[in-house]
Symmetry: C2
Subunit: 701 residues, 2 copies
């Protein structure tokens, strides 16, 4: 792809001067965009351009960007669609290097629009102009109070460390408003629109290096450039910045809608799940979850350990316990010293649980909040303390300043981060924020359900971050492309073996005599299989005979297989049979690779009913390492079968994981013409693992 190397978007997202192309008092868009400069207190230069040079918004205007007193850092173009090309040419000729296009009528409208968009961007790229849009509602840089967007910002916006990136303009606004409603400060809100040039990946890449941004929240309909997205995601992770994504298109209907909405094709959703697992992306399913999870992580950063939660409400503790189990939040039991310290503070406790019901005692003696939270923060297994207590809002809420002060002090008692939880979700507006500042409460989240799920996501992200750091070097290695081009089962097994994968010893027997000889060499019951790269479904045509022992049995089977194969495929080239030892027992797995928009992927699962009825497979992008292969096995619903089932011995999991890795590497090395490399079955036993059958399919085969 002819992607321009304008790596640094610093000037784009921090312009010191802006020209509005299409500015007019008649347009609501123009009014909103211009009005934001005053509302936010933008300190840079603003110039206006329109066709007739008519003054607008109380300012003079010129008819061309070339007539401006200086070259602006960015042009925001919102002329009618038919006039966009001309406007962009004027912008370009004026020497402007960054353009934001609000005008719509492009890829989101169908084939004609897609073509028009392609022409526009080809021109911009040719001239070295970086474009956001078209169909983009722009961006707001809260950190530097620079609004280049019609979204109403208002005067009381909260500046902070959360950056929002969204392909849908309306949704950008909804997410930003909800974050502000929840008292979460923003660094950026960026609507990427049709992403004809700049896309979500490029913006994430920029934000990963942006000082004001600690957490990146993304709403995505499609990922235009999967490879760049993965690199950007890893860059964010390496910078310690959680990337949280609400990606639609989980269902067929949503995919169709996305196509209609911004001309996006959403792609295979299960592969995106694999990307999230591998690149430590937090995937969420609602706007509320996106924002609440981001808000928690802005405050906590990586969480080193379990979470301790206290409440004066037994009901809240029970809801937390249930939700924690569903969400996978670790609420570790407290250490003995912690329990002893708690008992010293509150003598009449019976059982001590996490979450801890501090009962009405803490209402009568609010100092207990501080003492208990301080004790919990010191527990070696605890990486985050949380206290359930509703943050008062304006308009009638009772304000217990003593209790809130004690809670604030307790949550800030040690280096372990602490956060307050509202029982049901509620706004954290100016009144609440003022109280928080006065009483020393650094952060509040909620309600119980969203908070617990956010903690669980933050905990998983923190754990994966450590693992990822250890593994990135290995995972990002590029395979050496092999010249091999295995076609038949025999060749494919031999290729896998050469690549270090465990493979059963298979002998070629062009004749019955050679089959008998092979059986003698093996010295026990064998399998005979038709050897022909033209015949893929061997069993279906009677091309496989199991458990053969003795010369007569071998000869009979050989003759029967040949006859069956010739009957089914009269014209196929047949190389006789393959002879392999019988392998009784063991667990049959399936391992297969495929190409995708995200690159080659590998799937693994147990055979039979597990794959066929439950679609119980685990998916990853290649390459993977052994730890990732182990994680794949751990995700399977049939996982317990590998530990031994109904008295069967357990599989050697390390050997299975290693075999999956080796198969993946072997597939990668075959390059992009390989459609699929399938090992089915991969037989796992307690003493090792073997590929019993393998198949390679080529795109030009």
């Amino acid at each position: 792809m002819d992607r321009p190397v304008s790596g640094n978007l610093h000037t784009f997202f921090r312009p010191r001067s802006i020209v509005l192309v299409g500015a007019t008092d008649k347009s609501a868009w123009s009014q909103l965009i211009h009005g934001n400069f005053g509302a936010m207190g933008y300190e840079g230069q603003v110039w206006l351009v329109n066709k007739r040079g008519t003054p607008a918004h109380g300012r003079a205007a010129v008819t061309s960007c070339r007539d401006l007193p200086a070259v602006p850092d960015i042009a925001y173009i919102f002329v009618p669609t038919d006039a966009v090309r001309e406007a962009l040419e004027d912008v370009t000729e004026a020497g402007i290097r960054h353009a934001l296009i609000l005008s719509s009528g492009y890829a989101e409208t169908g084939a004609d629009g897609t073509e028009k968009q392609a022409g526009l961007i080809a021109y911009a790229r040719d001239k070295g102009v970086t474009v956001l849009g078209p169909n983009s509602l722009g961006f707001i840089n809260y950190a530097d109070h620079i609004p280049v967007s019609p979204f109403p910002v208002g005067k009381d916006y909260l500046k902070g460390h959360l950056a929002i990136v969204s392909q849908s303009g309306a949704t950008t606004n909804v997410i930003a408003n909800f974050a502000q409603q929840q008292g979460i400060g923003l660094s950026y809100a960026i609507a990427t629109g049709n992403e004809a040039d700049l896309d979500t990946a490029r913006v994430i890449d920029y934000l990963a290096g942006d000082e004001a941004t600690r957490v990146i929240a993304v709403f995505a309909e499609t990922i235009k450039d999967p490879a760049a997205f993965r690199v950007a995601a890893r860059k964010a992770a390496a910078a310690g910045k959680p990337l949280i994504v609400l990606k639609v298109g989980r269902t067929e209907l949503a995919s169709q809608l996305a196509q209609a909405h911004t001309g996006s094709v959403t792609g295979d959703d299960r592969i995106f799940d694999a990307v999230c697992a591998q690149d430590n992306i937090i995937r969420v399913t609602s706007i509320e979850e996106l924002v609440v999870t981001a808000g928690v992580l802005v405050h906590t950063g990586p969480i080193e350990g379990g979470v301790a939660i206290i409440s004066i409400s037994g009901g809240a503790c029970e809801i937390i316990a249930d939700t924690a189990e569903t969400a996978g939040l670790a609420l570790p039991p407290f250490a003995d010293e912690t329990r002893a310290a708690l008992q010293a503070v509150i003598a009449d406790y019976g059982a001590i649980f996490n979450p801890l019901d501090v009962t009405g005692a803490a209402v009568r003696d609010p100092a207990l909040f501080q003492r208990i939270l301080t004790i919990l923060a010191a527990d070696p297994a605890i990486g985050l303390t949380a206290c359930v207590y509703d943050m008062p809002r304006d308009g009638g809420d009772f304000v217990d300043r003593t209790a809130l002060t004690c809670i604030g002090a307790g949550l800030a008692a040690s280096k372990t981060p602490g956060i307050m939880i509202n029982q049901a979700i509620r706004p954290v507006g100016a009144f609440s924020q003022k109280l928080m500042a006065e009483l020393g409460i650094a952060a509040v989240t909620g309600g119980l359900d969203l908070a617990v799920r956010a903690f669980a996501a933050a905990q998983r992200w923190s754990e994966r971050r450590i693992r990822q750091g250890e593994r990135d070097a290995g995972i990002l290695r590029q395979p050496h492309i092999s010249a091999a081009r295995p076609a038949s089962e025999y060749e494919t097994l031999a290729y896998l073996q050469a690549k270090g994968a465990p493979v059963i010893l298979v002998r070629r027997a062009p004749t019955a005599d050679e089959a008998v000889e092979a059986w003698r060499a093996i010295g026990g019951p064998v399998v005979l299989k038709i050897a022909s790269s033209a015949i893929q479904h061997k069993s279906d045509i009677g091309g496989v005979r199991l458990n053969l022992d003795g010369e007569i049995a071998i000869r009979d089977a050989f003759a029967a297989i040949m006859a069956a194969a010739r009957a089914a495929y009269p014209d196929a080239a047949i190389d006789g049979c393959l002879v392999a030892p019988m392998r009784p027992g063991g667990i049959e797995l399936f391992v297969g690779t495929a190409q995708s928009a995200w690159g080659p992927v590998i799937a693994a699962g147990l055979g039979g009913v597990w794959i066929e009825l439950l679609a119980d497979t685990s998916l990853r992008l290649l390459p993977i390492d052994q730890a990732e292969a182990r994680a794949m096995l751990d995700e399977l619903r049939a996982r317990r079968i590998l530990d031994g089932y109904r008295g069967a011995p357990a599989a050697d999991l390390a050997a299975v994981a290693d075999a999956i890795c080796k198969i993946g590497d072997a597939a990668l090395a075959l390059g992009p013409d390989l459609v699929t490399l399938e090992v089915n079955p991969l037989l796992a036993r307690s003493d090792g693992v073997e590929a019993l059958d393998a198949l390679a399919v080529w795109s030009d085969g």
Copy 2:
């Protein structure tokens, strides 16, 4: 149980006069409770009682309820725990028939407290006094503005049709506040506390008959009286009032916490799921879901059909589509006439989906909202229309009165209910409600995630309501208790057959000669099984031989089984063997009954890995009818196997469902001494179903 028959709680929850026992200016509780009368404008009589007759809250007080000028309808007791008994005696002797006890220190504190509580309630019952509590934060009757609770109500409370019932006092308040924040009016909020006398079931029963209440939302830690709860749930359903329950104790930790909190034992959670399925209870997992679902149902009532949703945001439509699939919400495609009508209104539409992206066109021409919603409401498959559009709040939100008026008119266009959806959850406060009233918008819910899940729950409830109405008569029948007491496999199979269940023909063969004779009568391969009620795990001791044909084979097998059984159980009474025909093929199911706190339950599932590894069973309380048995099969993850798998023929589902019903009825008829009746396997084939083996276990067996 010695439950008093004070069926009608009308006076309890609508008292015309109230005495506060323990009233004092020194107590915050007392101040809060008394303050609510003024705040809410309680119109009845209020009297105060305390030990010394000290005036409080600006009122006179007396030392005994007997000194009051009249007998109050209810006494609210909040004296110290040690003084409660004496206070209750005074209340009783004054002729008061209803007492509410706030004081704590009872069952929630352990064994001593439980005993104290039992004594208190025994006394009250003996005297015919109905008690709510102890450890109850009382109730607020919003419909008649009667507060008997320390919860701060305020002056601006919203009266409406949602009743809240909660065992946890703090949680009652959280739920009520969240409902009010969401603009949902209340009829009642009732904190049932320890439920020593009045319990959740009795309160639901009362609310099912309460005119002001349309929807009942419950937070429950335990169900004290399962049978009464089921009757109350069915009464609510029959009255057309949805019952929505947030029941904690889904996990072991939550169960332990509930025990510590209100002395509750939460019981087997899967059985409660079965109760919800059978009695049409909507089960939710968060406070937000409880309230939002209730709010939707207050407005819509039963929904007759699918839901149609429109939005000007493509992003919102995609989120809705994804969430609908996960939540199981039916968004039916529109009828041809609907599509034609839509196309006439908005000619440039490409594809028409549900949810419908009405794009910016509706922003430019808000009349489109009304036209489109009116068209959708007329679609025969649509039972609810919804429009995504944020309801403005006080403080800066832009108010597009034209658009909102058009949306209101469109949502109210026909008899099909209509509702507006906020994109992210936000308060619906006084400002929003005033706008709604002015512009004709009847109801608003949100955000997208909660709204879609609420619609799905409302839709399921509405569908089940129709089914339930048709079936209740049959389901509530009581079985005739049989005198039978089958013990051995032979007896149990014979008993099942007598009860109409399909059972394989099994012959008794005390001797080898008789076994041979049985084989001859069967005329093909048979199974021989040891016949002894002392031996349950027959296969484990070599007590089963399969696929026997020919006299010699029968005699050999008979001898071998006898020898094996005598070796394993030297002292057991052995009745020879059972002889049954071999049944090749088919699908093996497991059906078993058990006793529980909720009464006898039945479980069904496929055998083998499905039960052992996936715990893939479906559970119901007995009795069930065939439709319920079919629903059980449909819930199984292995469901598709019954349709035929890998070329196997499909099972006769009607026959399987009938067999499950008959086994359930047969178990019920054996009465409460039966521990379990197990049929394993129940063999399902395309041409019928048969119990191949059965076992009855007795509590005194």
